[in-house]
Structure formats: structure tokens, C-alpha cells
Amino acid sequence: MTHRLTFAACLLLLAAKHGGGQVAEAPLILVSTDGRQSVPTVSFDGRRMVNVLELAAPFDLTITDDRQDSRLSILQDDQVIVLTANQGLVSVAGQLVSLPVPPVERSGVWYVPLDFIGRALPLVHDQAVELRRRSDLVIIGDILVPQVVARYRTTGPQSRLRLMVTPATDHVIEQELSRLVITFDADAIDLVLPDVASDNLLTRLSGVETDPALAIELGESFGSYTSVREPAIGGGIELVIDLQPTTATTTSILPAPVPAASAPAAAVPDPNLPALSDLARPRAIRVIAIDPGHGGDDTGTRGPNGTLEKDVTLGVARRLRNAIESQLGLRVVLTRTGDTTVALDERAAIANNNRADLFISLHTNASIRETAAGAEVFYLSLAEYNEKASEATGQPVPVIGGGSRVLDIVPWEMAQLRYVNQSARWAETVADELSLRLPMSPRGIQQAPFRVLVGANMPSVLVELAFISNADQETQLVSTTFQSAIVNGLLRSIIRYRDEVTRGVPLSDQAATSPPDKLDTNQR
């Protein structure tokens, strides 16, 4: 804590030293076919500006500071933009563009007003660039960004939220703990929110930073909701969401917690198996490792329309990372952040070195049968490592001062053996939450000797999100709605698992070490 404070203080000092009156402002969100990223903004004398270096990567700019005559040259391919300090006119590929305020240079760092993005960059960028100031969005290329205008009114005991969505866009409403999240099937939304006075049903309306979604924070007397979608004038739709208070007769729509008794009861622990898999104590969940399957030379599976597994897994991993960081405040480690080749053992090593508390490997499946469909959750099977596992446990070791004690030595490359029971619970939780949102394969939860899991020193699962070989599922895999459903399911499973660990819920006697019933998930 002290370290954090000191660090924050240093940052403030630095900011004060370099800033010269600059104040941090809300970030801009850049939306393109590659996804979303935020760009920080600051204000000088009430004018919002952005550091040009922040624009270099998203717009592929090369920046050269010509210190002699206080000019900055920006190159995009062979086109040049020239900024001059304290001049409101900018030369853009030979044309002059005027800015409402001149660029500001502070200690070698150049800041440009937001209009630079809307006025100058479209002239040199090979895709359309649109600045929407009202919603702080920068839209790059040909992507779908509907406008969503919200109105809220309380009438008697219940209240009504109306959303005008133009153009008409599909949506999904999901309840996450104490909020409703409406996710639109779009690349981003241009959200216009009213000032809402908090009441007993609704406390806040806000955009979700990482998703094309609107979050409704629910008040303490919220009981249930209904939603109706109607066509609206101008080609859009109106979405009417009524919030009702709890009454004695109204049942909560919160998903009922799954009782431990619903776990497969028939399973009997294999007496031949060592108790090794119980050795590790559950620990608090602070760091999540996400492993986007395949990458680089290893493309993974390929859909009939050419979608590559490595791209889907990376896209979902990025969305999941953003959601976990923004909604749960946990640290996230990706085993790859770009299209790079990473060995299987290295993926587990990255999770281990970052002391991750949960590991989730993302994949898409493929089958020679085109109709095969559905998600599957895997955790490590012990049987294949049984011999090594038996060798590794119960070795009496002499200790100083006489006597001996049994030491649980697990070869480092098989760290997962100690976590198989916890991984089983983690897998159950993931499969449960995904099955509420995605089609599951008849083999919803399974054990297999998957290499990427063996070395992971934490509860670990591998999730096959869908069959990319199935043309319908391939289309789903690249859609925002489906990816949001995946991310929400995984997010919710992390919350549930974390809560169980925090509350100290013991592992049930379900035989994590014996293969689960193949049809288990379907029957539940």
C-alpha cells in the first residue's frame, strides 16, 4: 500500500513538473475492425488535447521532432503532416488545415487538440476516420456504431428505461450480480445518457468501457425486469425495459446458486490415486492468466470461410482481459498479446512466473463432421501421469533432529497434478456459466492429458469455445454477441470461483479425479 502511494505521489510530481497546467481527462475510445483501445487525453486551459505519440501506433504514424525550429513532422507512408508550436494551421499532405487551438509543446512532448483527429488524420489515413465528440469515440474504417439514446422515468412503484437505437441493432440483456448489461451486436455504441437521479431501482447508467454495452446499476429494491423491443420511426428500434421492485411473490431473476448436491454424486474416488491432487491449498484470486491458443506459424484450426482459430482466441482473450480488468479489478496476464508463436510449456511458465491464481486456455474446436457444435471445458486427467504422480508423493524424507516426514515432491514440469481437484471445481464453474449462454457439446466437461495444462501451477482449464469447422458456429465465433456471451460467462465464473474460495467453501467429494459423465452437462 505504501509503495502504491509513493508511486502515485511520484506520478503526480512528474505530471506537475511536465504538465504546466495540464489536467487528465476522460480517454478517447478508438474503435476499428481490430477492436477498441483507449487513448488518454489531457486538458490545457480547458481545451482537451491528446499526446501525438498516443496516435502513432493506431494510425501508423512516424514522428520526428525537429528541435531547431520547433516543428514536428509526422509521416504516414509518404505523406507528411507538419505541426508548428503555437500555430493553429497545420500542413497536411500539402493542404492547410485549421485547428480550433494550436498544438502545445511541453518538454519535447507534443499535444494536439481532438479536432486534429477529425480534421487532419482523415486526409492521410487509408481508412475513414470519424471523431464523435459527444461520446468520445473515434471510429476508424467501415464499422457499425449505432447511436443509443437513453431516457429514464419513474412511474409509481416501477420505472421505465427507454433506449432509442439507430440504426436497428440486435442486443442481449444479461444480469451480472447487481447490474443489467445490455450488449449490442455492433463494434461500438454512440451512447447518449441522461442525468439520472439515483432511486431504489436504478442507481446509475453508464457505458461499458470495453464493450458495445450499457450497464444499469440496480438499486436495493430491484426485483425483476421485462424488456420489449419495438420498431421506431427512422429505421431504428426502441427498447423498453421496465424495472420492478421485489415483492413477496416476485421471485428474483438472479441465477440460483448451484447447490453442491447437483454435482455428480455417483462418483467414487479411485483408491489407487494419490491424494496429491488435494495438496495445494486454494488461494485468493488476484491474477488471471489467459492463454489465447495457437498463434504465429501455428494457425490452429480453420473455419470453412477461412476464420483462423489463432485470431478468434486472441480476440476473445483481449475482450476478456479488458472485462476482467475493468469490472473485477484483477491483474490479467496474456500468454501472447499478438500473433506470435509461443511453445506450450512456455505458456504455463508465463502463468507460473506471474503467479497467476487461475489459468484459462482458449481454443476453437474442429471436426470432420460439419454438424459438430458446442463448447467444451477440459481439465487435466491424472490417469496419464499416475505413475509419476505416485512416485512423487509420500516419499519419507529424513529431517534434521531425527525422524522423517513425508514430503510432497512434484516435478516442476507437472505442477498441475497438485491442483486437479481445484481445476475440477474451476471447470465445473466455467461449464455451468457457459452453458447458460452458449450451446454446449454433448461432452460439456471432460478430462484429457493436454500439454498446456500440465505445467500450470494453479487451477487450470482449457475451453473449446465452439466448433469453427461448423459454418454457423464460425459465424457466431466472430460476432460481438457471441464473444460477449463467452466473456460474460467466463467473467461470471471467475466471480463465482473467487467467491467460493473467499468464503472457504470446501471442495465437494465429487470425484474430480474420475472421468465425469459424458452427458453430465446436458442432464443438469
Partner: protein, 207 residues
């Protein structure tokens, strides 16, 4: 200094000799010192003259499991030769409508049996190159081979797959092949679930 070169030379010779024994000598011995002929599957596979009935594994109609089919194969007196016949039949392109879980063109390069009951099955690289890359199909590829050997030759307890003579981590990124794998029938569905079309195909196969 000169003595050091001598030592390196000697060590090199020893290493080369051990390597020869390990990779050429021993594998050469095993097939010629077969386990007793009675170990060839007899419980369920009726030995009928010059044939055995061996169970081979193909992909089910829904693509979600392996299914076992009994196939008539030439009977061999030696264990290694029998294993080779079974594997070659498993790798061969099956008649329609059966679907093989193993990429077409995959060749059996070599087969080694150990006294401990492990089989080392060396396959050509087509098993990797021609693969769809799905984890479920990788499980099917691996366990079709493991189960074909261990189900039909009960003295063989585990199978390790090699590719082009080398140990590999996985075929296409999922199933750990760094150690011999035991038979695992979790990936195989019951025969009554198989379709009639496939059963009639089987009749044809067994002619």
C-alpha cells in the same frame, strides 16, 4: 591437452555405441523375441484359421466420439508383426461411409515393443500436416492408435506415438505425447449407438 582429445574420442565412441544399441540394436531384438503367441487377443476376437477379429476405431456419425468396429485381419505369429498389421489397417483409408480419425497418407514408419508392455509407434509427418487441428480430433487420432494396439493386444499396456522417429510434445498442440498413453475408452461410444448405415458398411468390410 592431447589426453583431453583422447578422452573426447573415447566418450564419443561410447556414446555412439550406446546410441546404436538403444536405437538400432534393441529395437531390432524386440520384434524377434516375441511374447508368447497366446497373447494375441483371444478373449473377444475369435481366432478363425488365418484371421483374427480386431477392433479398429472410426469417427461416429455426430463427430463427437470414436466407434469401434471389428475387422478381420491376417493372423500373425509374432506380436510385433500382429501389431503392425493392426496399425496398418487402422491407418488405411476406410471404406465409405466410415471416417478415419487419422489424416490420410499417414504411414507407419516403425514399431518397437518393450518388455514392460510399452509400444512405440513411429508415424510419418502426415499425421501432423494433414490434421484439422481440433483438440477433439487430436484426441481421436491419438486414442484410435493407442486403443487399436492396446485393445487387440492385451499384453501391450501403453503406446507412445513418435513422428518421423522423434519424440514430439503433441501432434497439433493439445494432447501430451511425451509419455506412453494407456488405453482410454472414454472417447469411444457404445456399439449400439452406431448407425445402421455404418454397420452395413462394416458387413461389407468384413467380407
Amino acid at each position: 591437452m592431447r589426453r583431453n582429445y583422447w578422452m573426447y574420442g573415447a566418450m564419443g565412441t561410447v556414446a555412439a555405441l550406446s546410441a546404436w544399441v538403444l536405437f538400432v540394436g534393441l529395437p531390432g531384438w524386440y520384434p524377434t523375441s516375441p511374447l508368447p503367441d497366446a497373447t494375441v487377443k483371444q478373449a473377444s476376437a475369435s481366432v478363425d484359421g488365418d484371421f483374427i477379429e480386431a477392433t479398429l476405431f472410426y469417427i461416429s456419425d455426430d463427430g463427437m466420439a470414436l466407434i469401434g468396429f471389428d475387422r478381420r485381419l491376417a493372423r500373425q505369429t509374432e506380436q510385433a508383426a500382429q501389431a503392425r498389421v493392426i496399425l496398418e489397417a487402422q491407418l488405411a483409408e476406410p471404406p465409405t461411409p466410415l471416417l478415419s480419425p487419422i489424416p490420410s497418407g499417414t504411414q507407419l514408419l516403425a514399431l518397437y515393443l518393450t518388455e514392460q508392455g510399452d509400444a512405440f509407434v513411429d508415424l510419418s509427418e502426415e499425421v501432423m500436416i494433414g490434421h484439422s487441428g481440433g483438440s477433439l480430433e487430436e484426441l481421436f487420432t491419438v486414442y484410435a492408435i493407442v486403443n487399436a494396439v492396446t485393445t487387440n493386444l492385451p499384453t501391450i499396456k501403453a503406446v507412445q506415438i513418435l513422428v518421423n522417429g522423434q519424440e514430439v510434445d503433441t501432434l497439433v498442440g493439445h494432447v501430451d505425447l511425451q509419455r506412453p498413453l494407456d488405453r482410454n475408452m472414454d472417447w469411444v461410444t457404445e456399439p449400439e449407438e452406431t448407425s445402421t448405415s455404418q454397420q452395413s458398411a462394416l458387413q461389407g468390410v468384413n467380407q
